[in-house]
Point group: C2
Chain length 145, copies 2
Amino acid sequence: MRSEVDVFREFLAHKEMRFTPEREAILAEVFAEHDHFDVEELIMRLRQKGQRISRASVYRTLALLVASGLVQEVFYEDGHMHYEHIYGHDHHCHLRCLGCRSIVEFRDPAVEEAEKRIGRGHDFATTGHRLDIYGYCRQCREKKE
Amino acid sequence: MRSEVDVFREFLAHKEMRFTPEREAILAEVFAEHDHFDVEELIMRLRQKGQRISRASVYRTLALLVASGLVQEVFYEDGHMHYEHIYGHDHHCHLRCLGCRSIVEFRDPAVEEAEKRIGRGHDFATTGHRLDIYGYCRQCREKKE
DNA sequence: TTGATATTGAGAATCAATCGCAGATGAGAT
DNA sequence: ATCTCATCTGCGATTGATTCTCAATATCAA
């Protein structure tokens, strides 16, 4: 499998854009950990490694990463956007605890299949989906009792 | 089935809050049409009916409607929140065309079932889910060719 | 009617995200 | 190596949605 660096390079080349040191550093940091993150965290992590990249560039690069399909937006209920890198991972969905706000990833073939089937039924050529299941994890249930 | 008015009244009573004329008007307008809407549209519609309710009250009341379960937030990719009333409707998910941004609702028992099954598998007591399927509708596919 | 409490509206404040622009940088041509 | 020119970056200002503050108002219970 091509590395995310190659994928991003090619994506940029296709749009006649440059693979700059800033974009390279942001890409590397986004793929450095497998966790959801937001812009503030990403900037912090870059700072800690001595990278001083402006907020605007981080936003601009994230938009490119999303457009390239390497990164996905994750909707949180806290007023701003979060992200996760998805290249090289199976598609997954999120189980979200309404108590502690924790998020567990899961994969489920039946959901993948449902996407295709529902798409066919409505004459949609589907490209993907986003499923969030809400509930309460064991700890939060016990806390409530 | 109890009307949405009764449900909201009870919800407010439970929290020792009042069913004011403003809240009544907003509730009525939210349920007047079955379409996704955003705050701006809602205020516009209220204005056209002679209601002059402040933006702050609309936001505050919408939060209450969401908390009461009568209304659901719908994530759009246009930078602000959209809503739909859900009381009295089966739970449904959204098929979203990436071309024309149109949204089609659908219901699917397999998805409901998947929610339960996945919840059991992860020791989550599920309360609901949100599924968006992305793709291209027929019109947009034909346009691209 | 009175007092206690909840609610509203207006505008200020907040905060994520975007924009505009001047100067910096990079890739290819010479 | 230098020139050229389009692309990029960083800064700071701006936008725009949403929330907050607070004084004035409305409601409920006694």
